[in-house]
Amino acid sequence: MATPKTKPLIRLLTCGSVDDGKSTLIGRLLVETDSIPHDTVATARSVRRGGSTIAAGEIDFSLLTDGLEAEREQGITIDVAYRSMSLLNGSRLIIADAPGHEQYTRNMAVAASRSDVALVLLDAARGVRSQTLRHLTICALMGVSRVAIVINKLDVFDYSKEKFEEISAQIAPAVARLNIGEHAIIPVSALVGDNVVFKGKNLDWYTGPTLLEYIQNQNLAEDAMTSPHFGIQYISRVDTFRGLAGTLVNGKFKVGDEVVILPSKKKATIAKMVTFDGELTSAGHEQTLNIVLEPEVDAARGDVLHLATNAKPPADRFTANIVWLGESELIHSRSYLLISGSTSTPAIVTTIKHKINIESGEHDSARTLKMNEIGVVEIATDSPVALSNYSDSRETGNFILVDRSTLNTVGAGMIVHALRRSENVTEQAYEINAEKRAAQKGQVGKVLWFTGLSGSGKSTIANELAKELYALGRHVYVLDGDNLRLGLNKDLGFAKEDRAENVRRVSEVAKLMMDAGLIVIVALVSPFRVDRDQARELFQPGKFIEIWVNTPAELCAKRDPKGLYKKAAAGDLPNMTGIGQEYEAPLNAELVLDGTLELRVNTDIVMEIAK
């Protein structure tokens, strides 16, 4: 085999706790390697940030990366700064200076997700802090393959070897526990400039490499790659040409190779590989290209091509590590959008197995993950996806979770392994289907989903409706939230994640009943929009009819048929909708009923569409 190729772009991040000197270190590295325009350096001599004690005329090195006004005012890094420099072997080093402050951990994760090398800084005076350990854990999880523990501010201790050894010993257990393979421990003073680019005179007892030498010595080669993976980003069409545009990763394709399209599992042969610079006969890792298949089987954005000889069946159940980035916590059973490369599908976290205790590495039990927490979860995707294990490939084993209402990125996920490959479960097609069963009953199956506050009148209207439909000879069934909590849902409470699971179960049952040919009436508070939207997705358009019983909260509280509002007022029901928990009114309900109107009037309105 040929010697592995050196990576042309090497990505490095600095991390560690707040104020440990990351930005100062990077600034010095850039200035001393002449990687910064001189006018920019001049500005760093004249401008000062809040609380700075650096003498006038000296360079404040941190200003070379702390580019935001708020960062200069507060004297801390908020978001990642990217800077480039050249290495002696001709590679490019792209440096990501990450923030140390806990509030901005997500931005550190942004930097770590693509980095090859991490510099984890420690302030000699403060030693290991929990943010140091959090960052080290994230580096380990995200597969940063080289880690240097950089012990900074040794100037404060007169460059004491004992201090260096003391701090080295403090961090050693965490390094061992996190299985951080290749690592080094390097003493520096970023401020004074010892052992960053130049050795200096102060650390005469130290015989190892300077920080720059350490970085130069990282001989980062492309991994050996044998599982080519081509994610389709875009279908390129012109005249009779139809190319699948994307980036090949993790291996090679040749013209003539037989490939499988996932998740459909159709097979075809690579007829052509087209690029602007000419047709290719073979393509390798990171090559962007257009693939023309023979025959031109159906393939769409988000589909993936694998070699037929080496295809991993897609899966829809995974165990994954998650770093939670969202301001609001992870809700188990709620539907998120899972995105990996160009593939996206709704997904739910079915189980939170545990969260990781940053200090000890132990597994703590958890019902949720809050911002900056790291945990292990099980995920179920709506449709099967071709993801690898993150340990096999960073490019194809990663995913993000996106909140479906804010559309923000709230989770960073790394696949541990697939739990169920779709080869094991195939949907059985039966000839007696929903339409036939409904036709036999002389009706059209559908779901009438009543949502609204407790006491708004959902069950009353549902009851009236069921009576009238029954009288017309229709086959109907009412799924009532309270009744279901006596059986199917008796394990569920009223926390957000329980409500999500409640809605999920009820919607699946409703779907089965509709499939059996019934008209299904659901009466469920179902306060959260995402949960209702997730229920809606189970159904063909037109089959799921969302009906909002809009009754003013004061009126509901006055009616208080179950005495719940009274209890809530006394503080006994913390999750009461409309009091301790929000009710998110539907935005696109098929029907909105005015709950202050006569029962008769509302029933008539619904009957119009229910029959």
């Binding site: 935001l68 908020i78 480039s84 050249s86 390129s236 040409f241 190319g243 090559q287 962007t288 990125t409």
Partner: protein, 301 residues
């Protein structure tokens, strides 16, 4: 800074991937075309990304009416040569109010003719994703920006709340009031751009090459007198000098550099020697330039 062919290839692949992701993800993407070297590279990358199909989005030029004449002629040549759909937008209200680099402070002029002009055009056509050729090595707040950078209502950038961007898995989803700015050449340096232009023989504007041009001095900066609108100071006559430009913009605000470089390799040699940032050739109001960050929070690229 070294730019080996391997580095350029890696940067190119990354940029192409971003351009394709953009075309696939947005309802109405557009590419900002500002006629300079970075736009020329961006355009070339877009041609590569969608080849053999044409570029699936239009190009947008915000014309302040103060661009160098050679920029406009070059723009039109390029558009017709490659059969591009080019939209040109000018802030007419600004023109009617008599906003020029000489009648208003530079930052006010920039805000009205560039930032507001850009916002007008994006709103008018309903573009939800706008691709730009900014690089992280240009300026300190650009060094902080995501590749897919969410803009809130009014095209505002909120640097304190940037959406996390992990791996190469991009979240391109937008709420109705949001839009996206996309920077496919974020990781490139100025030298990469020049090496890439040289390697791919990309046509670039003649203003980048040295030629005798009429100039006057303003402080220690040399400005080209591109048309009769330039206010000369009593009795001043422009002198012809051998100059070229390092960046292109509005001619009254873009300083020339003395140079004899008439080929790409000569330009490359020159740029490799220069130790000042590109921004050093932009004119600012005294020293109180509106920070790039402030302009960006107002919707600037």
């Amino acid at each position: 800074m070294q730019s080996s062919p391997e580095i350029l290839k890696a940067l190119e692949n990354e940029s192409i991937e971003i351009l394709r992701e953009t075309a696939a993800s947005f309802a109405k993407p557009v590419m900002l075309y500002s006629i300079g070297k970075d736009s020329s590279v961006l355009l070339h990358l877009a041609r590569k990304a969608f080849y053999p199909a044409p570029i699936p989005f239009p190009l947008l030029h915000i014309d302040t009416t103060w661009k160098f004449k050679e920029m406009i002629s070059f723009r039109d040549e390029v558009a017709s040569k490659y059969g591009l759909e080019l939209i040109v937008h000018t802030n007419q209200e600004g023109v009617e109010e008599g906003v020029t680099p000489f009648t208003r402070g530079i930052s006010e002029y920039t805000r009205i003719m560039k930032t507001v002009g850009l916002r007008q055009a994006l709103d008018k056509y309903g573009f939800d994703g706008a691709i730009g050729g900014s690089r992280r090595d240009e300026e300190k707040s650009r060094a902080k920006e995501r590749i897919f950078s969410v803009r809130e209502a009014g095209h505002r950038w909120n640097p304190r709340e940037q959406r996390p961007e992990l791996w190469r898995t991009y979240n391109t989803r937008l709420r109705p009031e949001q839009s996206m700015r996309i920077f496919p050449i974020s990781d490139w340096t100025e030298l990469d751009v020049w090496h890439y232009i040289s390697q791919n023989e990309i046509p670039i504007n003649p203003l980048y090459f040295a030629k005798e041009r009429p100039v006057v001095w303003r402080g220690d900066q040399m400005l080209m007198v591109d048309d009769e609108r330039f206010p000369l100071i009593n009795g001043e006559t422009p002198e012809n000098r051998l100059i070229r430009f390092r960046t292109l913009g509005c001619y009254p605000l873009t300083a020339a550099v003395e140079s004899t470089a008439t080929t790409i390799s000569e330009v490359l040699a020159e740029v490799s020697e220069v130790k000042l940032s590109e921004r050093a050739t932009r004119l600012i109001d005294g020293d109180k330039e509106d920070s790039m960050e402030k302009k960006k929070t107002e919707g600037y690229f």
